[in-house]
Amino acid sequence: MEEILSFDKISKSFPGVRALDDVSFGLMRGEVHAIVGENGAGKSTLMKILSGAYTADTGRMIFEGREIVNNSPKLSRDLGIQMIYQELNLVPELSIASNIFLGQELKQGLFVNKGEQVKRCREALQELGLNISPNTLVKNLSIGAQQLVEIGKALSVNAKILVFDEPTSSLTDSEIQELFRIIRMLKARGVGMFYISHRLDELFEIGDRVTVLRDGKHIMTDRIENVTINGIIEAIAGRKIENLYPRNRGEVGAPMLEINHLSGEAFQDVSLVVREGEIVGMAGLIGAGRSEVAKAAFGIDKYKAGEVKIGGKTVSRHNPQKTKKAGMSLIPENRKLEGLALSLSIRENTVIANLQALNPTSMINRKREEDTVKEYVDKLNIATSSIEKRTMFLSGGTQQKVVLAKWLLGKSQVFIFDEPTRGIDVGAKNSIYELMDELANRGAAILMISSELPEILGMSDRIYVMSGGQVVGEFNASDTTQHQILELAFSNA
């Protein structure tokens, strides 16, 4: 087998983060090359550099013996490098055939030769082993089928390299088998494939080689026969700095947040409890239903069954106003969409959840507001030239601190942190950990959802593991390992 693509010393930095650090490895023709690592390890960044969405700071990419210069989305596509993203690039209101031929329709004069398109599409689908009518509208297909159509689309332009980004995260078992069958077929045709997945068992089924990235660094690349699941998990986790995680907590008290048999669209029969002065971690893979539980508990989404108790009292007719009043805060997963109004200032964003408490008369006391915001800007070390700065101009870490300030300002005793440190640099991470520790020390109950295991182990007193919408395990942080948690998280994914 010959190498079709190689990464040569690729590095890429974002403000405050070194996303990729001197990464080199290659892809063979007809190979399924798995790339694994934690969130933020650099997998997506590397693939975005390959697709031309980002440009590497240094390093080269060699494709079929020639260096790719001035890469762009168009150039990489023309070269035959195709991405199959999780969010699909299909037009829901069009048929499979129209989607596959979008922008490159077969024509007969002015008119689209639909008959021919349908015929060729059917052939292509049959080649992929799919018995499905080319006239089916994409919006009526399951996600899995849409993914296969996306693959069909990529193949129709003669892809030489395919990149799968978490292709199986929303597929059922039978759909996964279908996908694997097609991947094997493509392999036989000599297509090189990168396969990004959190499901390690899959790698052994479909992968030829595996590369592990951690903190932007290339850790290992080896043939799949030469490694074990344990070996990969160790490589993914690595060793982390221990003192990153402060622990000055006192005694654990009474239950503050109780979720009993909660069921919703994406989770079933979830029960958990968080006590006064305790930080409880919630581990699991993306799509395990953790954020959905958090949103339901906070009253953003409706749930079907079960109950939520805050401070021992059941919250009925759930909505965020009520849960907020009952003393609960949710620091959401997506700070740009759910956390901030980006066109408004730090001041306006910081006080928004506590307007009434700060201004009991409903008239805004500007002086008190400014003083309060300044206090929190100092306390959280928010790097800004002015509290009037619009939050769109702040870095990710600073934005996250503004969201934190918004919720710390209130009298909440129950906090849910959903991926509190995603995409922010180590320094900012540490100060967020210290804040959480201080909160717990003062008696707050904290539920922390995180996909970073070291963070979960480092910060939590107890840990719940979710998988496939259910709580599959509970540990004391002191007597568990990353390994144990990962195994469980992968269990019924």
């Binding site: 906070f298 953003i300 849960t323 759910e338 956390g339 109004a341 066109s343 409903s362 619009r390």
Partner: protein, 355 residues
């Protein structure tokens, strides 16, 4: 960054933030020059007071529209609410009526508020887009007004009531100060205070800027939207009273183009269709621009029909300008604030060194 550079940036930022005033000055300049050639004094006190008086009516409907645009919505029913509510209670406002005019006036505003609340419910509960929901309400209101009054016209409004809403207060150096001006000023001040000085206003801005984040912050966004449409409609009812007082009559066709004018006024005033951006004083600028063009064209004896053409060009131009300028202003403000910080640090360092 040197001082001169900083100053230019500050001036630019201020100018960019008040694009409606800039447009207003340009429009004034054009008409002043054009009219000069005709030997008419456009800038005479009496003409200016006429402009301000008439623009005051547009200020009220402009505010009504601006607060829903602030929420990322639109209210097409303003004009028809004005017609329906005044038609419903109009007979009680006539000279011939025995009832204290304040009672029907209050009923007009209450009825209008109720209609606005219904629009709000259509939008928040039935999830119908504002454009469609308020269009349906517009149709229904206009229709009901016709059904209620047939082809009659309500004429001869109680004089005391007229004086209260559209009377002249006093005259200074040829400039008439009138009730509408006072009312518009009070309304602008009131909404300035509501938007900038109360928790309600803050929640409105936040909901308009990012409804999802607002919900995640524990704001009852549905309620905010309902209130906005209710207030918008109540203001329309009040504007209806003013129009009725001015015309000394009302009829089902009252204020046929007002929703159009109101949108023009608030867009020229710098409110962004996307929501969450706009300064209520801009509405005053927008109203003056719209009326100045109307009266300026009259003075030039241009056909009134051309009015809508200018409005159309103006809307497109104003939105284009606002879009470009607001983005630039945000960037400038950011640079400025960083620069000030740098200066402060620099002077602190100097102080430290000199000690």
């Amino acid at each position: 960054m040197d001082k001169k550079n900083l100053l230019t940036k500050r001036v630019k930022s201020t100018v960019y933030g008040l694009s409606s005033v800039v447009i207003m000055l340009i429009v004034f300049a054009i008409f002043a020059v054009l009219n000069m050639f005709q030997g008419i004094s456009f800038l005479s006190p009496s003409n200016l007071s006429t402009i301000l008086n008439q623009a005051s009516f547009l200020v009220i409907v402009g505010i009504a529209q601006a607060i829903v645009i602030l929420m990322g919505g639109i209210n097409l029913s303003i004009g028809s609410v004005m017609a329906l509510t005044t038609v419903m209670w109009g007979d009680m406002l006539l000279k011939t009526s025995e009832v204290n005019p304040l009672i029907p006036a209050a009923m007009v505003i209450l009825t209008a508020a109720a209609i606005g609340y219904i629009s709000g419910l259509l939008i928040t509960k039935l999830r119908i887009t504002p454009y469609i929901a308020t269009f349906a309400v517009m149709y229904a209101c206009r229709g009901l007004a016709w059904v209620y009054l047939r082809n009659r016209v309500i004429y001869g409004v109680n004089q005391a009531f007229r004086d209260l809403l559209v009377g002249r207060l006093f005259r200074v150096a040829g400039f008439n100060v009138t009730m509408p001006m006072l009312i518009a000023l009070i309304a602008l001040l009131a909404f300035f205070l509501i938007l900038r000085g109360t928790t309600l206003g803050r929640k409105w801005y936040f909901t308009g800027a990012n409804p999802t984040a607002a919900r995640f912050s524990g704001i009852n966004t549905d309620r905010m939207i309902n209130i906005a449409y209710t207030v918008s409609s109540a203001l329309a009812g009040f504007a209806g009273l003013m129009y009725m007082a001015r015309l000394n009559s009302t009829e089902p066709g009252l204020a046929g183009d007002t929703h159009f004018e109101a949108i023009t006024v608030s867009l020229i005033g710098g409110f962004a269709m996307a929501g969450g951006y706009g300064n209520i004083w801009g509405v005053a600028g927008g109203a003056i621009v719209v009326y100045t063009i109307q009266s300026g064209m009259n003075m030039l004896r241009l056909p009134g029909e051309l009015q809508a053409l200018i409005n159309g060009v103006l809307i497109i131009f104003a939105v284009y300008l606002n879009q470009t300028l607001s983005k630039k202003k945000m960037e400038l403000d950011n640079d400025l604030s960083d620069a000030r910080m740098a200066q402060r640090q620099h002077s602190m360092l100097k102080e430290g060194a000199s000690r």
